[in-house]
């Protein structure tokens, strides 16, 4: 199942990944191969199998609404590449 060049560029854009021309080519091939493999899986008759979103037989895992301690501010910001006061500083969100 061939994936076209535009599809690869669209996915790269959603993932915020920059691709070279060579990358686009390579991923076009690889993604196509992956989808081809799913074609094999598609051959299985799953009409009797309910859609499975989770593989573990768990449900209703919840906690009580009890507040606990947060992280100290110094630890929160310890790995921030850039900060201003107690804020994380990031590149401008709106590009002019």
């Amino acid at each position: 199942m061939p994936i076209d060049r535009d599809e690869v560029l669209h996915i790269a854009r959603l993932a915020r990944v920059g691709l070279s021309e060579e990358d686009v080519h390579r991923f076009q091939e690889q993604l196509s191969q992956i989808l081809d493999y799913f074609q094999v899986l598609q051959e299985l008759d799953t009409s009797e199998v309910p859609p499975t979103s989770h593989v573990l037989p768990l449900q209703n895992v919840m906690r009580d609404d009890e507040p606990g301690a947060s992280l100290p501010s110094q630890e929160v910001l310890a790995n921030a590449p850039q900060r201003e006061g107690d804020f994380f500083k990031v590149r401008a969100v709106f590009e002019e």
Binding site: Q59, V61, P67, G68, S70, L71, D86, F87, A92, V93
Partner: protein
């Protein structure tokens, strides 16, 4: 040839409301949810910071408040609900995705009844789902022209409920009625503070117009980032007129996002995030699904208080109040509780007879005093026992209406009980006839002209004399009793 007639346009509005739920901790971690006014990044942990390897755990109370909201909005609660990842790259999302609900929300297919100009109408609710709020961004541009953004993660992970209406609203007035009613219900059941100015309730309106009779929907404009009911109402009114003008001029309405500029009194196009909305939702693998049993739903329903419309009806039926009075009393649950709480201090067989007076004091005098102090009913310092005491003092004639107003205000400010205030300040009415008679006699002697006027047929002159007596008693007399006593004295030669 026919003269072209002006096309009549129909307005179509759907509303999405986001509300913070009243939980103590966040949606998927135990960070405290009371971040309002806290220093930036003081209410965060590895989970809400989106650190690698952490696992979210669902806050049970948030789920239950969402289900309760669904029940209050007459929704279905499906037996299975699931969380999904909504992917988009934006710095307000620490993980690069928001945990939300896509095709299996907690509640769906409900309705809320509104009333506009005496017309009742059911607005269909499409769904109520649960998600997490995002971080707060502060956009900065320095005088040197450098632009950057600051991130405060405190708000990230606060339980956020989204309530989506069907496009059933036909005017700005209906949209306002819907929002007001929804806010009343959310506060009533304790699901949310639902305060737009505080940012714990947000509203987006999808507005379009179409020629009346047409089934197709016109291009819709999304009104966003508006921070009060008043502005939502104004923005919708403006937007409706703008779209009709565009169409009448032969133009085409552009589908876009617009905001409200209060200073201009206009909606203006907003820069939207430049990527296409391609969220690639998929089931959240870190959160097992929620199986919502009928028993669980019933348990939540049992915990739900009597809803505003039902309570209004009961106040009318049980106490014989007018719809107007009952509607005002059920503005908020705290107000209705205060009213009924005060009545519960009276003997059961007298409650119905005294309900109207109690309603008047709550709806006008007390409402006015709270309003002047910018207080909500939830924060009213006067309790039901104190209100009952005040009403008793009035009923038994210890104080008159104008004194009662003074006592009410004093009680509200000082927190002292009405009885204590009346005793402390000697405000009890002068009931003793002899004491009042002395004052009346003195006033008559001091005002021979008014006395002569009255006797010569100017009956109005008695009003002046009543006023003089009231002044002498510092308002502590019953004006009707004073008038009677004056007449009695004046009729003696």
């Amino acid at each position: 040839m026919t003269t072209p007639t002006a096309i009549d346009y129909e307005v179509v509005i759907g509303v999405e409301v986001h509300a913070h739920l009243l939980t103590r901790s966040k949606m998927f971690c135990s960070c405290p949810a009371d971040y309002f006014g806290a220093p930036p990044n003081s209410h965060v942990c590895p989970v809400c910071l989106g650190m690698p390897g952490v696992l979210p755990v669902i806050n049970r109370r948030a789920v239950e408040l969402t289900i309760m909201t669904g029940l209050a909005l007459n929704c279905q609660v499906p037996p299975l609900a699931r969380f999904d990842r909504k992917n988009y790259p934006y710095p307000d999302l620490m993980k690069g995705y928001q945990i939300s609900q896509y095709d299996q929300p907690l509640c769906k297919d409900g309705w809320l009844e509104i009333e506009v100009n005496g017309q009742r109408k059911r607005v269909r609710i499409n769904r109520v789902h649960l998600e997490e709020d995002t971080a707060r961004l502060v956009h900065v541009t320095t005088p040197e022209g450098e632009s950057y953004s600051l991130v405060d993660v405190n708000r990230s992970g606060i339980p956020l409920m989204e309530i989506v209406s069907e496009p059933d609203l036909r005017s700005a007035e209906e949209a306002r009625a819907y929002l007001t009613k929804l806010r009343q219900v959310l506060r009533w059941i304790g699901a949310s503070r639902a305060n737009m100015e505080e940012g714990n309730m947000r509203c987006e309106a999808n507005v379009s117009v179409r020629p009346r009779g047409s089934e197709a929907l016109g291009a819709k404009v999304e009104l966003k980032n508006i921070n009060s009911f008043k502005h939502v109402y104004e923005a919708i009114r403006y937007e409706v007129q703008r779209q009709i003008s565009v169409l009448q001029a032969g133009g085409r309405v552009v589908q876009e996002t617009r905001g409200w500029r209060e200073d201009l009194g206009q909606t203006v196009p907003q820069r939207s995030k430049e990527y296409a909305h391609d969220y690639r939702y998929f089931p959240e693998p870190d959160l097992p699904p929620l199986v919502v049993s009928p028993e669980w739903v019933e348990e939540i329903r049992r915990r739900m208080p009597e809803l505003p419309d039902a309570r209004r009806q009961r106040l009318q039926d049980y106490y014989g109040l007018s719809e107007y009075d009952a509607r005002l009393l059920t503005e908020s649950r705290a107000k209705a509780d205060l009213f009924e709480g005060a009545l519960s201090h009276f003997p059961p067989d007298s409650r119905r007879a005294r309900a109207k007076t109690a309603a008047n004091w709550v709806n006008s005098e007390l409402a006015g005093l709270l309003n002047a102090r910018d207080l909500e009913w939830e924060d009213c310092p006067l309790g039901p026992a104190a209100l009952a005491e005040l009403l008793d003092l009035l009923e038994e004639g210890t104080i008159n209406t104008s004194t009662a107003k003074v006592v009410l205000e004093e009680s509200l400010s000082s927190g002292y009980s009405p009885k204590a205030i009346v005793e402390e300040k000697g405000l009890a009415q002068i009931g003793a006839r002899e004491e009042l008679a002395q004052i009346v006699q003195a006033v008559l002697e001091a005002n021979p002209k008014a006395v002569a006027d009255y006797r010569s047929g100017k009956e109005g002159a008695i009003q002046f004399l009543v006023g003089q007596v009231m002044r002498q008693t510092r308002g502590r007399a019953n004006p009707e009793a004073v008038r009677e006593l004056l007449k009695e004295h004046l009729s003696r030669a």
